[in-house]
Subunit: 118 residues, 2 copies
Amino acid sequence: MLNQQAAALDRLFQALADPSRRVMVERLARGPASVSELARPLAMSLPAVVQHLQVLEASGLVRSEKTGRVRTCRIEPTALKTAEHWIAERRSTWERRLDRLGDYLAEEAGRPRRGSKR
Amino acid sequence: MLNQQAAALDRLFQALADPSRRVMVERLARGPASVSELARPLAMSLPAVVQHLQVLEASGLVRSEKTGRVRTCRIEPTALKTAEHWIAERRSTWERRLDRLGDYLAEEAGRPRRGSKR
């Protein structure tokens, strides 16, 4: 189970680690698009776009559906949330630690030092 | 400038796309650690841990400092925020779009249909 979650996060972050794939995710965040619409701003061949699309679909960030001759791609917000959540959790662990450290230091500052003559 | 930002995001997401590196980030979110402390929960050689550490440092997620013979590693929360922010922005673009779609549909539902006899 933990391994499956780890593999899912591997695929998510791996999918986001490419500038062309991020351009595709940005475009799909604004609404569904066909493969050729996704390809338009990218300086690459259609097969290359399709390969990137496959990585995005395998990660769960994007799903696509073929109607007639047009494949329509959509973003999968749950996958975006999973990746965001993992990072946010680590950041909040770090911030809680910083708060505790701050409290401790404030407490120490208010306490007379051992051996001081006050 | 845009290319530099893209390269930074590539490195960030790439760094997070490995389960051992995520274990290291999780550990460092709880406070600074030495390289051998980072290695403890991982089933791998110290040189392998050092390689992962180098990837994390190159991404800006971790920095380390050597004092005497001990290298102490710390998390760099700004880098975590950069990655989180990129995802959050896409998610909110998507949610705004959904809200607008909802408003539009609610408006349409309240409006008598063209050609209806109401």
